[in-house]
């Protein structure tokens, strides 16, 4: 009886320690750079990149299977941030990004069908059936998911207006 208890205890302890040591030395770590990239990305999981959400895109960019330019809502700012993080050189001028854009509803065209509101990943479109819809400027990430859904082409992407609160003094020309 005692011999059985002792042998099993010793066996358990030895195997447990072996497992603990193995966990410490043979650990497969998640790539920390992926987490950093996820933190940079818009995080609305809009799916325009073709990957399942922002984490999928981040993994693909780190693995090199997707270009750093694959995220439309992130725009130029995100591309340069990712390029800086991964040490890539990206030709930003080829991107044709003219600043962040947001969706706006052309009120004379909107028929109040609610299709756009259903696909918006951030619930930025306000509207009820047969009521003219409207976009919350602060909540829209410019992912363009709603654009294709509109049967009357009432949704248009427009550049975010520059206001006094957002204006930044341009950088002086280098000597």
């Amino acid at each position: 009886m005692i011999a059985a208890i002792l042998s099993l205890t010793v066996l358990g302890a030895v195997l447990g320690i072996a497992l603990g040591v193995a966990n410490k030395f043979l650990k497969v770590e998640g790539n920390p750079i992926v987490d950093e990239l996820i933190a940079l990305m818009p995080g609305s999981n809009c799916g325009q990149c073709g990957f399942p959400g922002c984490s999928g895109a981040a993994e693909a960019i780190v693995a090199g299977t997707a270009p750093p330019t694959c995220c439309p809502p992130g725009g130029k700012a995100l591309v340069s941030a990712i390029a800086a993080k991964l040490g890539l050189s990206v030709d930003l001028s080829a991107l044709g990004d003219d600043g962040p854009k947001i969706a706006t509803v052309a009120e004379e065209l909107c028929i109040g069908c609610c299709r756009c509101a259903k696909v918006c990943p951030t619930d930025a479109i306000l509207g009820a059936a047969k009521q003219i819809h409207s976009v919350f400027r602060e909540a829209c990430t410019g992912c363009e998911a709603c654009i294709e859904k509109c049967p009357t082409e009432a949704l248009i992407m427009k550049p975010v207006p520059v206001t006094l609160q957002h204006w930044v003094m341009p950088k002086p020309r280098l000597a």
Partner: protein
């Protein structure tokens, strides 16, 4: 260089620059009061903080001093009608800002009667509760008139709450060309001292130190005469040196205390107000009059008749210039339009922008004064390091900002930069150093806004997911409930039928 100066030089205490002040002859001319213009353009944001919210309708008649836009949020200031008349529009106008962007404003057409509303003054301000003074100052829309336009009531009540010991009154006026504070100290010394006493009462501070640069001997004499009978108000001449009128520098020269990096004067028991603000506070408390006008300096080589003018807030710069005798040769030699001082003021795109509460000057420069020059490479002479009043390394910071390494620039003190422009002023290569820092600060603010926006987006996306999950769950539960009800109903029906059958059978048996 005298022995003392040499000593200071070795101690690193020779910050700042000594530009040619060019304050005279404008400062020596008597103050002129500009008549009411036909139309006034009143931006809803003339102060730091949240913009005011209009409380008038288009077409409404207002009297002079009537509230037309109320304060919104903790840090904000209301706006009052500078004259009696009709509200013509609430629309976007060009902002007095280098961007040339627009901002919403109320447009008021004067009726020429200039009729005041009933002003509730107070004969004995010292009987008032300090909190009450703060409320009255806030209601009068008083903001710091030195240039930054921070709501004064916030500073007064904040000072009372953090129990400051010393009130520093800023009569430094270190910016070249400007002399509006100088003129007011000469003309209205007694009123300023009265205003300072009211501020002392409101803040609970024991003493007031009035710092005046020694290039204004007339102002010092007038203020000393006015404060002779008031022991708690001390007039302290300070050496003329730019940026002496900067809060942190003035406090250090007057009290010997240094304000730590990224902290405020409150933290060392001091609050700073401008001399013009003391006048505005006095008018708000003694006469119950809101801040609707200010004194500003018109100056620069292109002006025909430089001097100090009292104008209503909302008057177009164009009309102020016309009143002050216009520009030489109708502005042919004009090279730059500036609102505020030449060092820290704003270059404006045209003259059709209104005077706001914080406008201390309107300057019209010719090419000789602007002295625009293409920048040359940095020769690492260190002039900017010696000039920087905050003890920073402008050449190192600008090199990092040039490479878009904003975080590194912050690491070597970008956030402590007060954007005084001493570095760019002394640079022998004419590198626009201070413009780099203003750009970088804007860029960092934009990055912070982006970060907040990203966080908000993530939260929104998460909330949407939760909502979709909840809806799916609720649908499933409702379906399950309906199914259960259906089954229960069917079972009940079956049971009833069975019971009926049984009853019929037993009936049949008994029969």
């Amino acid at each position: 260089m005298g022995f003392m100066n040499l000593f200071k030089h070795f101690l690193g205490d020779d910050w700042g620059v000594h530009p040619d002040d060019r304050k005279r002859p404008a400062a020596d001319r008597p103050l002129r009061v500009m008549p009411v213009p036909e139309k006034l353009y009143l931006p809803l944001q003339q102060h730091l903080g949240g913009p005011a919210r209009p409380v008038v309708l288009v077409g409404q008649q207002v009297k002079k001093g009537e509230l037309i836009a109320e304060a919104q949020g903790m840090i904000s200031a209301p706006i009052h009608a500078p004259t009696s008349g009709t509200i013509v529009a609430v629309t976007d106008i060009t902002a007095p800002h280098p961007s040339g962007l627009t901002l919403p404003a109320i447009i008021l057409a004067a009726d020429g009667r200039d009729e005041w509303i009933d002003c509730q003054g107070c004969a004995d301000p010292f009987a008032l509760d300090p909190v009450d003074i703060g409320k009255r100052v806030a209601a009068a829309g008083v903001v710091g008139l030195g240039g930054a336009a921070f709501p004064s009531a916030v500073k007064l009540t904040g000072a009372a709450r953090s129990k400051v010991k010393t009130l520093v009154i800023n009569g430094g006026e270190c910016e070249p060309y400007l002399s509006c504070d100088d003129r007011q100290m000469r003309d209205r010394a007694a009123e300023i001292v009265d205003g300072i006493r009211i501020m002392l009462h409101a803040t609970g501070a024991a003493e007031a130190l009035v710092g005046i640069e020694d290039n204004k001997p007339e102002a010092i004499a007038a203020m000393q005469a006015a404060a002779a009978a008031v022991p708690e108000v001390q007039i302290r001449p300070v050496p003329a040196r730019y940026p002496m009128g900067s809060e942190k520098q003035l406090v250090q020269v007057l009290t010997g205390k240094e304000v730590a990096a990224e902290s405020r004067t409150f933290d060392i028991g001091i609050v700073v107000h401008n001399v013009g603000t003391a006048l505005a506070v006095r008018a708000a408390i003694r006469d119950g009059r809101p801040l609707i006008s200010r004194v500003l300096t018109i100056n620069g080589n292109c002006t025909n008749d430089p001097g100090n003018i009292e104008v209503l807030v909302g008057t177009l710069a164009e009309e102020v210039i016309a009143f002050a005798g216009g520009l030489k040769g109708d502005g042919i030699g004009l090279a730059r339009r500036v609102m505020g001082g030449p060092m820290m003021g704003m270059q404006i795109p045209h003259w059709r922008v209104p005077v706001v509460k914080g406008t201390s000057g309107i300057l019209a420069f010719d090419a000789q004064e602007v002295a625009a020059q293409e920048p040359d490479p940095c020769i690492r002479c260190g002039s900017c390091v010696k000039a920087c009043p905050m003890g920073l390394l402008p050449l190192e910071m600008s090199a990092r900002i040039g490479n878009a390494a904003y975080d590194e620039a912050v690491g070597i003190g970008l956030k402590d930069c007060i954007a005084c422009g001493c570095c760019a002023y002394v640079c022998p290569s004419k590198i626009p150093l201070v413009q780099y820092f203003v750009h970088a600060k804007g860029e960092l603010a934009a990055q912070d806004r982006n970060k907040l926006r990203n966080e908000a987006t993530k939260k929104l996306a998460q909330q949407r997911q939760e909502r979709l999950d909840r809806e799916a769950r609720e649908r499933a539960e409702a379906a399950a409930k309906r199914k259960a009800e259906r089954e229960a109903a069917a079972a009940a029906k079956a049971a009833a039928e069975a019971a009926a059958r049984q009853a019929a059978e037993t009936e049949g048996e008994s029969a």
